[in-house]
Symmetry: D2
Subunit: 475 residues, 4 copies
């Protein structure tokens, strides 16, 4: 949740609802609970008696919907919404979702969380056949595929198209008469179905959004499933049976909200167990345990409980650091001006600190925090990462594009420790991670994707295979 610090970003959250007169409002509140999954743009498309219309914009949900008028015109009983994280090159309004397509006969709105591994080649093939793309995102590829299918029904065309795309994806598709939710064959991204007391069905990237609108959890959408929701209820279908569970382990480590539950595992508790197992695997000599706020507090708590070392609030995050148009100049940064994190001198002074962080990407933040703690008087800082070293890129929806920027892909443990300036540096093992999450599945790695740690990707890499590079330092 400190994406601005870590530069490790989720690519989006989705929310859909069918059957409530306040569909757009509920989508707004659902998306608000998913805001941590994307802060660059947001949008909602509503279905008013078969007619779709939408509103979207750049920025936080509250910035896009900065006047009740913006929401009030989105009437109707169904809606889908999206919060987006965008890489720099594709930050235009045209990439903000849901994408709304108007055809002569029907309208279709699409919202997508994930990343396709064959989008580039599909796009090239489609363009060669005359297709015109308006946005950079993968989302549009699915619409072009659907449009070129010849099957009789929309559902059949959708299923055939889903079989053509590869990678990680959770798609919501709103048409004039139904809401579809589709998950990739590995279930990389989480997607949950629920029901309101009013009978309306909702589907969302995380269960925290179901809780926010007070929806009862029904089930996780399963790999390869296509769930159709219409006025007759919800219908579970499959577009493929060639599935194998490989939930993104980074959802548990870092992305998902602590109160969300994915495939039966509560995220906060999984993080606590990561901290506990880390304490067992990597005991250190420390006076206090300090977590990096806010995402590492669960793991730090677990570490403290298992190690018996008291947990202390040694770092404070400024609650107002989400949006700023003014950054310290180079001169001020050198003078030590800092906006987001502060050390609590009274807590850390004269102490040996076990500093728990959820993950290590480039190491710049860790280096900064270690220095902060030492300047505040910590006599030693042991950095404990509650996940394994990140060494491989992700192709399924997390913004770890290449290994060059990953510290652990380029340096050995002692080199990393030296660069960060910590007195020692420790990681949780892959086995420890899997045990901590404890997903009940017979699939490899107990149903988790841990490819960023060990390079064992659950699928072919398709378009990314050609340029894939092994890390300098391997697992």
């Amino acid at each position: 949740m400190v994406s601005e610090v870590k530069s490790l970003n989720e690519e989006c959250g989705v929310f859909g609802i069918w059957g409530d007169a306040q569909a757009a409002e509920l989508t707004y509140f659902g998306l608000h609970a998913l805001q941590h999954r994307g802060q660059e743009g947001a949008g909602i498309v509503a279905n008013e008696q078969g007619h779709l219309s939408g509103e979207k914009g750049l920025g936080l949900l509250t910035e896009v919907f900065d006047h009740p008028d913006k929401l009030a015109h989105l009437t109707g009983n169904a809606a889908i919404g999206h919060v987006r994280y965008a890489t720099a090159g594709s930050a235009g309004i045209e990439n903000i979702q849901p994408l709304l397509f108007n055809f002569n006969q029907q309208q279709v709105a699409l919202a997508h969380n994930g990343n396709l591994t064959n989008a580039v080649s599909l796009r090239a093939t489609l363009e060669a056949a005359g297709a015109i793309f308006h946005a950079n995102s993968d989302t549009e590829v699915l619409m072009h595929l659907i449009q070129r299918q010849t099957a009789a029904t929309f559902e059949q065309r959708l299923k055939a198209s889903l079989r053509q795309i590869k990678g990680g994806f959770a798609y919501l598709v709103l048409t004039n008469d139904a809401l579809y939710a589709a998950l990739d064959p590995n279930g990389f991204r989480p997607l949950a179905l629920g029901q309101l007391a009013t009978g309306a069905y909702v589907v969302a990237s995380e269960t925290c959004a179901l809780d926010t609108v007070n929806a009862r959890f029904i089930r996780d959408v399963q790999p390869g499933e296509l769930i159709k929701i219409d006025d007759h209820g919800y219908h579970v279908k499959s577009y493929t049976t060639d599935t194998q569970l490989a939930v993104c382990s980074m959802e548990f480590i870092y992305f998902a909200r602590p109160d969300s539950t994915i495939y039966g595992v509560n995220v906060h508790q999984a993080r606590e167990r990561m901290g506990q197992l880390l304490a067992k695997e990597q005991p250190v000599d420390a006076d206090i345990v300090v977590g990096v706020p806010n995402s590492s507090l669960s793991a730090a708590n677990g570490y403290a409980a298992a190690s018996g070392i008291p947990y202390e609030m040694g770092l404070i995050k400024n609650q107002y650091s989400q949006r700023t148009f003014i950054q310290p100049t180079q001169r001020l940064r050198e003078q030590g001006v800092r906006m987001k994190l502060s050390a609590v001198t009274a807590v850390v002074k004269g102490k040996k600190v076990a500093l728990v962080d959820d993950s290590l990407v480039r190491g710049t933040t860790s280096n900064y925090i270690v220095r902060l703690l030492k300047e505040a008087g910590a006599t030693a800082v042991h950095l404990l990462i509650a996940s394994p070293p990140l060494r491989y890129p992700c192709f399924y929806g997390i913004d770890i594009e290449n290994t060059r920027e990953l510290l652990a892909a380029n340096l050995t443990l002692p080199q990393m420790q030296a660069q960060i300036g910590a007195d020692s540096l420790h990681f949780l093992s892959v086995a420890g991670l899997i045990a901590a999450i404890n997903l009940k599945s017979s699939a490899p790695y107990s149903g988790l994707c841990v490819a960023y740690f060990n390079g064992d990707y659950p699928t072919p890499l398709y378009d990314y295979a050609a340029t894939f590079e092994l890390p300098q330092v391997m697992a």
Copy 2:
């Protein structure tokens, strides 16, 4: 820091600097660290070679300074800034500080944190003598007093005026050639002096702002002091010797940032001790300790440590709930739509919860949280307030205007417990609070103001005396 939930609000934060070429930028970053003290408006006035000019607006600091241009034109070596909490009736731009006054001979800018107890009568007297006030805030009263003094120097006129005003105040006054910082005779509001590596002096409502700009802490401003900072350094003066320390205990309980230190006492650690003493005074039969995020986490941690009951993250606060223009309708609220807090079902289900909150104002939030936890499966919720019952209004700068809205002023303990729906309800004692904060002072209540708890105001009430009402339920 969850002011929108609690409706208990601090009235402002101030920051001033003298002697750095990036004075306005540093003021911006200093105010950013004080944003929790006021979110309704912000402003900065800078001194460019004796000429003062400013920029201010409604909203968060980042909303007021929403383009680098807004800050870039505030050149000069000195500046003062202000973040404001405003009551509904006085939310206009004219009340946003610093107030900048242009006279024929000089300019004066004022920023103020606190509340005057004789402002109404001073204002009436001044108006009867022809004075015209443009804003509603107390701040302007001081300027009118200064302007009507006959003493030779500005400093003398300022001192004479400070002796006329009563109540709680921390004033920053920027003139063409100096920066003044004045504290009321009881030191109700915190105010700290520091120095940058560049030699510039800074003064701020809390030490967390000094830390943010990497200033070295020099000293707390003392009751009755007037500190003058100019190109020759800083000069400690007194405008009165009739002083008696009575620091606002609510700063420790709720307002100040955990990493701030007031009169030598770190706020986070004071809160931890409040939790510890509460555990000793009020043990409960619980499986887990849960704190209300974010302000009660220190106290909850202390309670857990002292009681031996494990601390768990049973409640999650949405990090993006600071600004929203769209609220759930009545129908959606009845359906259970909630934007700010969520219970972690996996944590609380089947558990007896010791719920720790820092304070209890109206009880509506507590009622809401207790219901949230019970709906998530908690079998019992014991509400533990890490401060005494709030029964009396504050006249020194906190927005507790009358006793009618204070739950503890109107109901007995069993009545409160019933209304909140908790299985039991407990408060820290006043003695426990004083012991937890542990201020080294020989003044009554060890140098703290605890009047909101026991009605023992350290000063006469002046304008408020006539309408003062005793609570229904007294301490």
Copy 3:
């Protein structure tokens, strides 16, 4: 130019430039001169060494480019721009032009003024073949046609596509290495080529935009031409030889700016001649001639000169009425509150007024103006329309969609006069209009399109043929 009063709207203006280091700035100023052709949206796409990027938005050009930053990032030596008039149903940002398409191999930006008569059927065919349209405007059709051509060069594909579209169009197409300007086979819409002193070539909907950037007029683009501009100069090509000039006569009557010259005819002078011929065809007994500001002043001047009746400023238009978010309520309108036009009582009181207007659409404005003049004391108001009765819709780019809303299509002359409340009502004849414009051409109607007056459309109606309705009252 009083589109908000008349509800008769041009559909857009275009401007393009190749070869100047300040291409985007010059496009901005060129578009500013074309703002009267569309006030609903504006955009500019610039070519920076082969890479295209753009900026666009809803509203006036000055509202879209409301900060120099918005223009400053549009660097490069070439650019195209567009100002748009949009019908209610297609007011979204996605319809604002230029449309920028990103392909694997190249980028293409399109700006379009006009209306295609076979867009619906082309679109249906394209969608059936899998095409996906993102906007409602016709503009996109051309891109899809180009993309599905198989010819080797972009120019060949563009020519083949231009042969497939029907109707009125002036297209600007910016690619990575050239700027193309294409005009429909009838030259319905004006389009002029010019050159700056710096050598850069510019192309614009009207010559007033050339004047604004101080470009020398070279030539009008001719029907069926495709002009290619690149680093080697400009190249005149034809995509078809099946052409016949039929310039929109409404450009002369109402749309174009008086200082523009179309096919050698200055618009102001053509209007003056319309007024002169109207005076000869329709003399009236009046004391003064009054024109409806601002578009009818030329014709009124001509009428006065030819009739010998003095011209007087009897009506004033509020110069600030372009953008208002607040309109008089029904009650205030009934009380006579009026925002845009005022009668000059001192001028009209006791006078018989010859009121000259350029055209008559629904009659509501005329009715309002006649009442205004009579309330100001005019003893008689003779309404003189300096163009023939509008009875047929336009399919080539003017927003006269059906005959139902055209007064002259539904009422006889006496009925119209009665409804408007004028003492007499007169129109210029079609022959008089043609003589006044005096275009040197051997084509029918001297090279003008006068179909809105007599139903004699210069082309088949294609998609509009099926629903075409004859007016109730025919010429």
Copy 4:
């Protein structure tokens, strides 16, 4: 009305209403008709059953009231409003009027059009007595004077204060129970009283605002009058009998809207007569008469009629040039890029042009227009100014601050002609101006102020006397 071109600016327009349930809306529409008198800021204060509240902001009226919400909250039966022209140094929001003052016992709102000649000394005296001013405008001075009076009633205090201020002023004062309109003893600025059909009374800077809200004109407010409007009707009172009419002649020449009538003289017709008399005083050898749009069209029409030379539309003003954030760079200006005015080549080519402008200030615009016409092919340009040479500053409300910037104050006629580049240059005589306006008054100059032309100020100069400089070239 082309203030951006001429840099000769009126200082504000005022509108007030008492007795209509839609008072604020009507004020909005009245101010809209006065927008030409000030474009830098606007505001409205409404009286809801004795309670005053307001809304104001920087920019055009339509920019300040950019959402119906902004107006909707201004309920009540009375209101005053203001449009402001501001000099660069005082452009802050605090100077935007009406100024609203809140006292313990009452509220007062002030709106002011004009300039006080003893404001600086009054302000110095008031400050020395302890007064604090918040804005730079003169408006506030009156409030301080009122507040320091000792008379029993507000009306008495207001009258006594009006006697203390000198210069040109039209003040509207809204209190909890009445609306006051006061005019200076010379009637420099126009102010008219009217009545709606609903019985409500309105008072406005120009009669065009009365017309806009369909109010019947009752009378001009006379010099030295104080009109009080309350629930019992309107009451004409005098605060002084030492009066002498000296209406600002620039109102007739340039500022007022052509449809306004001041002291019985219609502005358009006065301008026509200026043109007619100019033709008699200064005949030239020309083929066509061209007026500078929009303010000079009446005078040009008069010149054409009296000279027999045909009037032609040789210059076009861009209707969309009111607000732009982007100006041509120096390089583009040198290339001839022009945004506001265009010459109609077809009209002026080969012609000797009699160019009529209303006034001549710095000469830069005239120089620009002459060049424009010559580049368009005019063989000669004779510049005819329909008013006398401007040589002296105005101290009563027009922004002609010193003689340095006035061309005619520094150059002889031949020098001016050479600098402007005209083939000849001619001015209307002072006697001709007075005859053209033809005000029925026995006061000097027939009741007009012509001091900017001849230095004969109708009042002492007070604060300005010390720095007053005679022009280099005198009348």
